[in-house]
Amino acid sequence: MIMNNNINNALKGQKQITMNRLNKLFQEKKDLLSIYFTAGYPQLNDTMTVLTALQDAGIDFVEIGLPFSDPLADGPVIQQSSNLALKNGMSLNRIFEQLGDMRKTITMPVTFMGYINPVLKFGIEKFVKLCAKTGIDGLIIPDLPFEIYIEKYKELFDDNGISNIFLITPQTPEERVRMLDENSSSFLYMVSSAAVTGAKKGISEVQTDYFRRIKDMKLKTPKVVGFGISDRESYQRVCNYSEGAIIGSAFVKMLGQSQNLKSDIKEFIATIK
């Protein structure tokens, strides 16, 4: 892939951002388990309850989903949780309120996963600054492509110590993987297969070939595998090729059926780790 001049110039000017909680975690531990859950789900004020229960259950870091009306990289489970969270009244203002004191108790790295439109509407500068103030370590914004990030927002993220997390997929060409690797400051989100979230069960041969291919590239950035990881078996298998795994839909589905969040979360994590 040919990079244009703007990007080349931006790359030359890149700053090293200071080590945050994510960098520390990746230095210290292997076989990391991360969980995705939707903010404001199943009830509006469950966000901190779920977050605390996940930390107590011993996961390594967390990905909090910021609900969006039209989440095009997500399958039905996360779509439904997002819709319900929005009906519950979840918004960016609300999530920052809910997480305002988070760092008094939450020590693990926390990332946000959300779509670009609510962030643009909120004001991306205000958003990134509030993330830093709240103690958010990284952002995953699937519909903010690398090129636009580099051109418009990299400086803002770097100045606030927020790591932007890029995705790689089985179709990402090697040269582009290298470019994303070079520009990553915490980890690469390795999408396990060509699919939206929650679509596949189990890990196939084709997938392990892809994981091995990426592993053999000996990237500088740690990789965490997400999409289609749902249980201990898939978690353990992908850890052979990466620094960890993210479970989303399977966990969100459990939340939707839970009668007792605290104990159900503990139990769920115990079946994985």
Partner: protein
Amino acid sequence: MFQPDEKGFYGQYGGAYIPEMLIPNIEELKSCYLKIMESESFLSEYKKLFTDFAGRPSPLFKAERLSAKYGANIWLKREDLNHTGSHKLNNTIGQILIAREMGRTRIIAETGAGQHGVATATVCALMNMQCVVYMGETDIERQAPNVARMRMLGAEVRPALSGNRTLKDATNEALRDWIANPTDTFYIIGSVVGPHPYPDMVARLQAIISAEMKQQLKEKCGSELPDYVIACVGGGSNAAGSFYHFIDDASVKLIGAEAAGLGLDSGETAASIARGEPGVIHGSLTYLMQDDDGQIIEPYSISAGLDYPGVGPLHSYLMESGRATYLPVTDKEALEAALELTRMEGIIPALESAHALAILSKLNFKKSDRVVVTVSGRGDKDMKCYMDYFKLTDK
């Protein structure tokens, strides 16, 4: 001046705000669409299909009675006479040739009114390709004849069950399908929306509308430039095609008709330019109806083809630069305009096109003005709606 830059931006609008999963496909398309579209083999096949299969050029018809009523020379660009009943085929013929050139074997599409779905299913039958069309469940109900046509043509119609179950939701599902099928599938987008290069590619394919208009006006009136070009705008493909070759002719007033639904302030509208603000939908930064939290507002229009909360980025740019004007038309105004065209000129228009026709009563023309209205499609698919509204059924 009105062409997108290499990254697909018209001014600040457009671009490709897409997840990494779609990047390889979009990059590949971006690198080859112009090369393919300018190749001799593409051009000769495209021209052949346009004349022999689609029946182009579509006529430019002088609407005498409407001209007398509105005090201007009113011409109708008869895209309703295009094969499959709308302008949509212009785009699908081009895109399927591009898909074939790129070696893709499976075609997906979204559809609102079903016109794009039918046009896609048609070229898939012609080219012997597998076809899956996503359509909102609400639209499947209100545009049943087109669903039947798609199925007869061999396409699989998959219902979109999220949101209001209309065009936006069908587009979400099509994009998710493309994410899940990145190697064999080509996504034929039906309008000048989506990530770059779609808005530009679709505008170029629909530009035949204004290219023909110019030639036909020259033959019929001696001058290739009209005073007004009027077209309806949902995503805005027939409008983009109708405006395309006139954009640099500042004397030609370009008017887009947006679907106001029950009224701009009713909360039930699809007028994205009048009631939207810049935001990202389906991979493009453009005018978008959204709430204070940046959540996309579910649109409403009686016309399934205009029932979309965004608009092509070209139109955002044409509006902002003042080059084109976009006016709202309510359901009721569109229905009355449909009946008027039917009774005065013997043409039953699609509900979408009826929005463009309703503009005639909103402008003050000079007697010498040459006004071209694009009748983007025919009304067969809307007969149930017309029969109900105008109480045309037997007692």
